[in-house]
Amino acid sequence: MSETVTTLRVPRQDPAPLGIDLSTRLAGVYFPNPVFTASGCAAAGQELGQFFDVAKLGAMVTKSIMLEPRSGRATPRMAETPSGMLNSIGLQGPGIEVFLQRDLPWLAERGARTVVSIAGSSVEEYVKLAQRLRGKPGLTMLEVNISCPNVEDRGKVFACDARAASDVIDAVRRVSSVPVFAKLSPDVTDIVAIARSVVDAGASGLSMVNTLLGMAIDTKTMRPVLAGVTGGLSGPAIRPVAVRCVWQVHQAMPEVPILGMGGIRCGNDALEFLLAGASAVSVGTAVFGDPMAPMRIIDELRAALAERGITDLADVVGRAHRPPEPYVPEGPDPEVADQ
């Protein structure tokens, strides 16, 4: 990894203006800042590249890629919900070969750190994907999207079964040349149990959380809005659930690096995840409303740390688990609380 680290220390990665060090490490990998895109919310970077330099991201997390091209589901694929949205894309994508020819090289050329998200319908598919990606230039980390139906278990989602989830992770990390993050679903009774099982299976870290299963019904047509009937709920609406998941898992396994996500829309939201125990965050749905969101959030996060007199991002990671600091303002009205 040390190579990566040094190569990443070039100035244009803006290490820390204002003397604030936003850099973070996940499983030993260095990132100049903790703000990543979220899988499926930034495609493979080209489109966002029209709005900002993707190398300025902590990392670019790509849309989950599968072995073969995928059409995805029929439309409608989305519904707006209060402070959130539902999607049922069905993992549309070009397949790993086109991704390796077209997308990953584009990201590598631009010096973007790339977290490649892979998705499969069997352990074997995940393994093949990891093998194809071995040692490819630009590949920084693997994120394993296990919120996929397991064809070998009557379509049961890997992420909802500790055994199936750990089988995938164990197999992938054996063939991967880079750290492997398991992306967890919040739709489980005991997120800590699932987290433990994938960590025991060798996950270098955890991405939390994927969308919550939801649905909407069009009261005009009196039918489900989505062609796929159910879909994944994302956006600020789910942030409290996502923060809780990160909190619980960091509480149970403080040493395991977490990439936190779920409803991050501004710097304070990102800070909330860091305080809960995440070492970096992904910004997903917010990008749809604001293509510049990741860049804005980096600036807002830097300003938030400055306000609090914090010069090193590491100081806030998991901090909410520590006993309260003495200087916590008393009373609900800070401005006259000093009365």
Binding site: E47, S71, M78, I89, Q92, V151, F288
Partner: protein
């Protein structure tokens, strides 16, 4: 020219029949607009429960004037977001991303073009008409709407075209019926070479069929539900046959909204046709 995100400002927001005519100062966008482009507008501000942008075809854009560049669009109040937009007044801030989408393609030679608009779908056709006439093309309009108050730009159409045919469902203006009822005669009368259309899907399909039946090309601007408008979310797809004959689920926000009428898999809209690249194989 890449799209830009601009903190714009409402210059005016006027009722126009059943529609609202919104003018926004959005410097940086106006300069780049081409006919068929659209803008994506942020709704309700930071504390709004509505996260997603709303897409609107650009009616006209001007890079001159006191406000720097302005962009105009015409919208119908449909749901919560457009209700909010209808309440915005001159001076209110408006976050706009654009220009977005692939514009109408213009012919190299001076052809005869028929432009078909349904309801507010007529809005993007005026800048197209001007561009076509700039290339020496003859332009004829066919405008349709449910009712007269939803017939947009009739006078303007008359001013900038050789002929205008009008239909309304209730017959309150022009012929009672659909644009598809009069389009064939217009095509034949004007010996039209190409048809451009914007409006609801049902209309677009009828127009594309008629053009095909007359052995002529058509370009249609579709309207699919969009979450991002910039190509990253994959919500806005349609089954489209590519040059290579292969059907793919194409993003209407970046590969469209303008498609060739014969490339769209009309019969398969709202589905994933079995012959689509990567179509699901039934697991048994």
């Amino acid at each position: 020219m890449p799209p830009v995100q601009v903190k714009g400002e409402v210059v005016s927001n006027k009722m126009l029949g059943a529609y609202h005519h919104m003018t926004v100062a959005a410097p940086g966008i106006a300069e780049q607009v081409r006919p068929g482009n659209f803008v994506a507008v942020g709704i309700g501000g930071a504390e709004s429960s509505m996260l997603l942008r709303r897409a609107f075809s650009i009616y006209t854009a001007s890079d001159r004037g006191v406000y720097g560049g302005t962009v105009e669009f015409v919208f119908a109040v449909h749901g919560k977001g457009t209700e909010w937009l209808a309440r915005q007044r001159a001076g209110d801030p408006l976050d706009v991303v654009g220009p977005l989408g692939r514009p109408f393609r213009l012919p190299k030679e001076p052809l005869t073009a028929t432009l078909v608009g349904g309801g507010y779908g007529t809005a993007p056709l005026f800048s197209l008409a001007e561009a076509l006439r700039g290339k020496g093309c003859r332009v004829d309009f066919v405008l349709g709407a449910a009712t007269t108050d939803r017939l947009f730009g009739l006078l303007e159409a008359k001013r900038i075209s050789s002929s205008v045919a009008v239909t309304t469902d209730d017959g309150s203006t022009g012929e009672r019926g659909r644009v598809s009822d009069v389009l064939p005669s217009v095509i034949e009368r004007t010996r039209s070479d190409i048809v451009y259309a914007c409006g609801p899907m049902g209309m677009l399909r009828a127009v594309a069929d008629i053009a095909a039946a007359h052995g002529m090309p058509s370009q249609v601007a579709v309207e699919e539900s969009m979450a991002c408008g910039i190509g990253v979310c994959m919500t806005c797809v349609l089954p489209v046959r590519g040059e290579d004959g292969v059907t793919r689920m194409a993003r209407s926000c970046v590969e469209g909204p303008v498609f060739m009428g014969d490339a769209l898999r009309w019969e398969a809209l709202g589905t994933v046709p079995a012959d689509c690249l990567g179509a699901p194989v039934e697991v048994h």
